[in-house]
């Protein structure tokens, strides 16, 4: 059973699982999708990539940032059957750059899977962001 007590100005409520099973009737304000102040996750409302998204880590801002941006912009805008198939040059460029900084971009996988691995992670973070209730850059 839940109960409540007051300690001065502080109120304390103990609740059981059952008490909290009924859905909440607390009202939350609707989020405005076009809120100019709000952080927008990976994809901005106008479709551009938010390079400043924390989900990208430091990828867009490091020494290979330019190559990364080129590769992923191409991938993002790609409308091919196999998404990103025409972007292989950009990805190669990015890989070459990353190989120069092994400390920053540890090469865990072998080279072939690297670009596709990147693409996967890119997609995952994409979806992950859409699922979040609130967006935080």
């Amino acid at each position: 059973m839940s109960y409540c007590k007051q300690e001065g100005k502080d109120q304390i409520i103990f609740v059981t699982k059952e008490d909290h099973e009924a859905p909440s009737n607390a009202e939350l304000v609707e989020d405005d999708p076009n809120d100019p102040y709000e952080d927008h996750g990976l994809i901005l409302p106008n479709g551009d990539i938010n390079w400043n998204c924390p989900c990208l880590g430091g990828m867009a801002s490091g020494p290979c940032g330019q190559q990364f941006k080129d590769a992923f912009s191409c991938f993002h805008n790609s409308k091919e059957e196999v998404k990103g198939s025409e972007c292989i040059d950009f990805f190669r460029g990015m890989q070459e750059c990353m190989q120069k900084y092994p400390e920053l971009y540890p090469q865990e996988d072998d080279n072939e899977s690297a670009p596709s691995g990147e693409a996967e992670s890119f997609q995952t973070s994409n979806n992950a962001n859409k699922n979040k209730t609130s967006s935080y850059s």
């Binding site: 109120q11 304390i12 609740v15 859905p23 400043n52 924390p54 020494p63 940032g65 995952t124």
Partner: protein, 796 residues
């Protein structure tokens, strides 16, 4: 006349009776007035004591005294004004003498060698002279600090030798001495020019990127420019310029053939580096050498180091970030992401690259690695290791390459403090004298730990045994202390104090260390958590092995018999080996004075608007920023996530985003493996609170939360979604069974005028987005239990 009474009594309103005859009487205030008798004819009806001096004695005395005071005041004022003028004159003459001194000296040698001057000007190829001179201009200018007077004196004794050499050096290859000597006479020649020109040439000097090019095109300017080097040269009083000259000579010899442009940008460093000079091609090189020799001789011991820094240090940074902490790094990252090819320069007082602070009082202490103080890597609960440095050094470009590297980058200048900021001129001056101009500037200077007055007054022996914990070196020192000493006392019951107490408490058993924590509040986190929770927390801290002294106010601290003795106001005494003071942070706002920026009197820190802007091209972020939060009002926040959020926002605004502070930052704390919480908004224990609790299960511990999310720093899991799969760590060990009324897990709402302004998630993790939403809404909720349902506190 009889002797007059004292002035005071005299000045009191005289009391007269109707007859108008003054008499000894008691006035309205009951004071007995002493008045000497006046003869009737001197009586004046009811008028001020300062009337016509018929009254004689008293009036006279009055006038004398007042007059004397006026005279004295006048004399003082006069002498001050005169003195002021004198002092001003002195100052001006002193300044002039400084600048004229270089000029004066050169002119002396110059005068003594009019002949050399002439042959120089004649024989020597004008352009070539111009070049070296020109070169020298920038060189000496920066080298001013180095004081390069050597050339001048030397030039004097060597004019005859120089003469014949003059012709040669100017030309391409030069014999070893020639260039050197030549330079000397040239300097001398140059010195002929009036001193005033020196400043003029000095001014443009630093600006010249390619003095060589300019020089070759302005043979005429050779005349005035020589002065620059000349005056500079004389300035320093080098004792062995010759030696220097000779040194540089041989070095030049091997290089003369090189005919690239002179990199005269950083003459200072180059000047110092004779090798650098020798690396320079052509005749100009010699000229360079001359001014450089003085510096070389000056810093004879430095040629090696000088040689090392041949590169040019930046004099301009499009984005200048003052301070090398979390906010600064977040801003750098943001700028680079939004402005392709951006060149960002971070200037930091510390010797370390940007790093994160929270592990210094938490994870680093839990590490099993004995070399942790060197590697500064910590293992997160799930086994993933990372360094406290945000990025390894290969991420950054070298400051000297910043202006030229193709795609821009982030460079860090360590070990320099920004001493002076010129907002009108858009430039800053560093502690080593370098000036850097900027287009946009971020101030992220953070703060320095506060100290207790009683400790500061306690003397060196106590200060030696006190740690003000903030930086990496403090962590290293304290870690060493914890292994070597037997007792450590922590003063302060807030985040830092409690975290350190828990961290040290965990080690106390293994190390045989006594850990004491004392603070004036009633319980740990007394200013943050409501009392019942604070008490509960204190119990947990005690269970970690810490001796907690609550309601402890330190009265004084002394060093006695090899121990630090802390006396409390209520009489308790604590004897310990080492003290850690965790009593708050003083924001670093020294730049406000020179920059003319506003400081907030309520919260401290630089006052900025909702977009973190102090001026049109100056932003402030992190601990030092007192900003306007649209939802919660003006505040200053000292937490890691706020530094990240505000740094990122400042970076966005520096690249034109114009967004206000909107995304609410969070903070967290772990007090041992069983007590952890995340919080957001204004969490002040003086506000009324409503806490909704459930019983905690084995899975509700900070350990389990991090294992789940795969990160060790919870704000990371918040803001940086980790792409890809996450390795699940070992299951958390079952905590001891909970008793009734145990505040195992729950949500606490902090209310201000019935609106939720702060939320603490107590052992409930990964719910921050909901908390953030509630605060953003800013609604009045009738039943907070309903709101608490949104958090699903009974589930994982």
């Amino acid at each position: 006349m009889a002797d007059l009474p004292t002035t005071t009594t005299y000045l009191e309103t005289s009391q007269q009776d109707d007859t108008g005859v003054p008499s000894p009487t008691i006035n309205t205030r009951g004071r007995f007035l002493l008045r000497h008798e006046r003869t009737p004819q001197f009586v004046q009806p009811a008028h001020m004591s300062s009337g016509p001096s018929g009254g004689g004695g008293e009036n006279t005395l009055y006038f004398v005294l007042v007059g004397a005071t006026c005279l004295a005041g006048g004399a003082y004022a006069y002498s001050t004004l005169v003195g002021d003028r004198e002092r001003y004159q002195q100052r001006i003459t002193e300044i002039e003498s400084r600048s004229s001194k270089p000029a004066a000296e050169p002119s002396t040698p110059a005068k003594t060698q009019p002949e050399t001057a002439e042959p120089v000007s004649e024989a020597v190829v004008e352009p070539s002279i111009a070049e070296p001179v020109q070169e020298e201009a920038p060189v000496p200018e920066p080298a001013a600090e180095l004081v390069t007077e050597a050339p001048a004196p030397e030039a004097v004794p060597e004019p005859p030798v120089a003469e014949p050499c003059l012709a040669e050096p100017v030309v391409e290859e030069v014999t070893p001495e020639a260039p050197v000597l030549e330079a000397a006479p040239e300097l001398v020649v140059a010195s002929e020019a009036p001193a005033p020109e020196t400043p003029a040439s000095e001014a443009p000097a630093p600006e010249e990127p390619a003095p060589e090019a300019a020089a070759s095109q302005e043979p005429d300017s050779g005349a005035p420019t020589p002065e620059a080097p000349a005056p500079e040269a004389p300035v320093p009083e080098v004792s062995a310029p010759e030696a220097a000259l000779e040194e540089s000579a041989p070095e030049i010899v091997p290089e003369p053939p090189v005919a690239e442009h002179l990199v005269a940008e950083e003459p200072v460093t180059e000047a110092l580096v004779t090798e650098a000079v020798s690396a320079e091609p052509l005749p100009a090189a010699e000229a360079e050498i001359v001014p450089e020799t003085p510096p070389v001789t000056q810093s004879a011991s430095e040629p090696a180091s000088a040689a090392a820094s041949t590169a040019v240090e930046p004099t301009h940074a499009p984005y200048l970030l003052i301070g090398g902490g979390t906010a600064s790094f977040a801003a750098a990252r943001s700028i680079r992401a939004r402005d392709p090819g951006a060149r960002v320069l971070i200037v930091t007082e510390e010797d370390d690259l940007p790093y994160m602070r929270p592990p210094l009082s938490k994870e680093l202490w839990f590490s099993d690695d004995p070399t942790v103080t060197e590697t500064l890597r910590f293992k997160q609960w799930n086994g993933k290791e990372r360094s406290i440095y945000f990025q390894p050094s290969s991420f950054y470009v070298s400051p000297t390459e910043l202006e030229s590297v193709e795609n821009g980058g982030v460079a860090v200048l360590t070990g320099r403090k920004v001493m002076h900021m010129d907002v009108r001129g858009n430039k800053v001056k560093l502690s080593d004298g370098t000036e850097i101009s900027y287009d946009k500037c971020l101030i992220a200077t953070g703060g320095i730990p506060r100290n207790l007055q009683v400790i500061e007054r306690a003397g060196d022996e106590v200060m030696k045994r006190t740690t003000l914990f903030r930086k990496i070196e403090d962590f290293k020192a304290l870690e060493k202390v914890s292994r070597e000493l037997k007792s450590i006392t922590i003063i302060g019951g807030g985040f830092l104090g409690s975290e350190l107490a828990c961290a040290l408490g965990r080690r106390s058993a293994d190390l045989g260390l006594e850990v004491v924590q004392m603070f004036p509040e009633k319980g740990n986190m007394g200013k943050v958590l409501p009392e019942y929770l604070s008490n509960w927390t204190t119990d947990k801290v005690k269970k970690e092995g810490v001796k907690v002294l609550t309601e402890a106010v330190v009265k004084n601290v002394t060093y006695k018999e090899g121990k630090v003795e802390i006396k409390l106001k209520d009489g308790r005494v604590v004897k310990t080996d080492h003290v850690v003071a965790a009593v708050g942070l003083e924001p670093s706002v020294e730049l406000a004075k020179s920059a003319g920026l506003e400081i907030d009197s309520d919260f401290g820190g630089f006052r900025v608007n909702a977009e973190l802007q102090a001026r049109s091209n100056i932003w402030v972020a992190g601990d030092a920023a007192c900003f306007y939060d649209i939802k919660l009002g003006r505040r200053r926040v000292e937490h890691h996530d706020h530094a990240v959020v505000s740094g990122r926002l400042a970076g966005e605004n520096m690249t034109g985003a114009r967004k206000p502070y909107w995304h609410q930052s969070m903070f967290w704390s772990d007090l041992g493996p069983d007590v952890g919480y995340e919080a957001i908004g204004i969490v002040d224990s003086s506000l009324p609170t409503v806490g909704v609790f459930a019983k905690a299960t084995a899975k509700d511990t900070p350990k389990a939360a991090t294992e789940q999310s795969g990160t060790g720093i919870r704000s990371e899991s918040e803001t940086e979604a980790v792409a890809g799969s996450v390795a699940v760590g070992k299951a958390a060990p079952t905590p001891p069974p909970q008793q009734k009324e145990d505040y195992g897990k729950g949500v606490i709402f902090y209310l201000r005028d019935k609106v939720v302004v702060g939320i603490v998630l107590w052992n409930v993790f990964n719910r921050m987005p909901i908390a953030r939403k509630i605060i953003k809404d800013g609604e009045e909720h009738a039943d907070l239990n309903e709101v608490a349902k949104l958090f699903n506190i009974h589930e994982e």
